[in-house]
């Protein structure tokens, strides 16, 4: 699964619709102090389901909406879309991941009654909240043979916040709940304070953390 592009509009200092494509392996973002580089990081955290305004450097979640400047009036909403390539992966890889997830037990027989439509929010979260963590991962990868449990080559995740406080969350254009977005990325290593986003000034957080906090980061990778 590969990150394809990021689109933001009305998010923090990005008043106008702006797109970042991720076509090459190492992408640098550069520019003077205060121009919006870390705001791009906040946008990625936010669209992946960040719930804490403080963790986005704001006082309240409404602070992510472009608040106006000397040159512009405030925006009516903030919108961010993150697009992933989600190809079908080889069958052997799926089996290997399954074996790793379940300690070698084959769940094939159980999964024949897997939900037909993995995209509908109720069945997605239903399958993900089925008691055992490993069983759900098995269901996810078997249903679609893709890293994200959505049966599509491209997955667009969108989050919107309106100035009146109303929120919208979409996966490939379908409205879902915030928790569906968070669950979508469960166990992928991204989102949810995992190890994939190192914020400015936070690189040695893992060294300064207490032993239990460090354990949690490693459990996310397990």
């Amino acid at each position: 699964m590969r990150l394809a592009k990021l689109t933001l509009s009305g998010f923090k200092s990005f008043a106008d619709p702006t797109e970042f494509r991720f076509d090459l392996p190492i992408i640098g973002i550069v520019g003077p102090n205060g121009c919006g580089k870390s705001n791009v990081v906040d946008a990625i955290k936010w669209v992946l389901g960040e719930r804490s305004a403080k963790s986005l450097r704001g006082g309240a979640m409404l602070d992510v909406i472009f608040a106006g400047s000397a040159a512009r009036k405030p925006s009516g909403m903030a919108a961010v879309t993150l697009s992933f390539e989600n190809p079908v992966v080889g069958e052997e890889i799926v089996r290997a991941e399954r074996a790793k997830a379940t300690g070698g037990i084959d769940f094939d027989t159980e999964d024949s009654e897997a939900p037909a439509n993995a995209n509908a929010p109720t069945s997605l979260s239903a399958s993900l909240s089925l008691g055992d963590h490993e069983a759900s991962i098995v269901k996810r990868s078997q249903v679609t043979h893709r890293r994200l449990p959505i049966d599509a080559d491209m997955v667009d995740v969108t989050r919107r916040l309106y100035a009146d406080g109303r929120s919208e969350y979409l996966i490939n254009g379908k409205k879902v709940r915030l928790r569906d977005i968070r669950e979508l990325f469960l166990d992928t290593g991204i989102g949810n304070d995992a190890y994939s986003i190192i914020e400015q000034g936070k690189v040695d957080a893992m060294l300064l953390a207490n032993p239990q906090e460090r354990r949690q980061i490693l459990e996310e990778a397990a």
């Binding site: 699964m1 590969r2 990150l3 923090k12 200092s13 990005f14 008043a15 106008d16 702006t18 797109e19 970042f20 991720f22 076509d23 090459l24 392996p25 190492i26 992408i27 640098g28 973002i29 550069v30 520019g31 003077p32 205060g34 121009c35 919006g36 580089k37 705001n39 990081v41 106006g68 400047s69 000397a70 040159a71 512009r72 992933f84 300690g103 963590h133 490993e134 290593g189 991204i190 190890y195 994939s196 986003i197 190192i198 400015q200 000034g201 690189v203 040695d204 957080a205 893992m206 060294l207 300064l208 207490n210 032993p211 239990q212 460090r214 354990r215 980061i217 490693l218 990778a221 397990a222």
Partner: protein
């Protein structure tokens, strides 16, 4: 589950602290360790509990004998943290990794080693790297500039390495 954490832990420890692990690669030597702390209470007090024990780090740059990890310098802490992050990444790469000015505390020699280490993960993940360091910019395959031609409003521009001025500002050519 216990066995999955145990397996992951051992893999990460080898990637981080092993003889060819990330720590020795980023420091050009020295040694490090990742270990579980014995429980201090409960039925397994004094023993390691794979389901409950906390994780501790020891880091020894070449020729040094630090007693606690906090004694390390700013740059040494950054290199140790990056080594651990990459060790986790090797065991379970996520589709992308965002690094916001992680090179802020590094001298030029360490920026060099950091960039070399980045290059080896290319086949599996995108790295999105925010930086003010010229050397780090040189290691990127492409650069996006972010500027504010209109006060308070961010704008994205594509940038060639030569267009980044020594004052960190993007040249006029870049902002068109």
């Amino acid at each position: 589950s216990r066995s999955r954490f145990e397996e992951t832990f051992k893999t990460v420890r080898e990637n981080f602290a092993g003889h060819d692990g990330m720590f020795r690669r980023l420091f050009g030597g020295g040694s490090a360790d990742l270990f579980l702390l014995p429980m201090d209470a409960g039925p397994r007090a004094g023993e390691i509990d794979w389901l409950e024990s906390g994780v501790e780090i020891r880091a020894k740059p070449p020729g040094k004998e630090p007693r606690v990890i906090n004694q390390l310098s700013g740059g040494e802490k950054t290199m140790t943290a990056v080594a651990l992050l990459m060790a986790i990444f090797q065991s379970k790469p996520s589709p992308f990794c965002v690094l916001d000015e992680v090179d802020a505390a590094l001298d030029e020699a360490n920026v060099e080693r950091f960039c070399a280490a980045l290059k080896q993960f290319l086949d599996r993940s995108h790295f999105i790297v925010i930086t003010h360091h010229k050397r780090t910019m040189q290691s990127c395959d492409m650069l996006y500039g972010v500027t504010m031609p209109q006060r308070g409003v961010s704008k994205r521009v594509a940038v060639k390495f030569e267009e980044v001025g020594s004052d960190g500002r993007l040249s006029k050519a870049a902002t068109e």
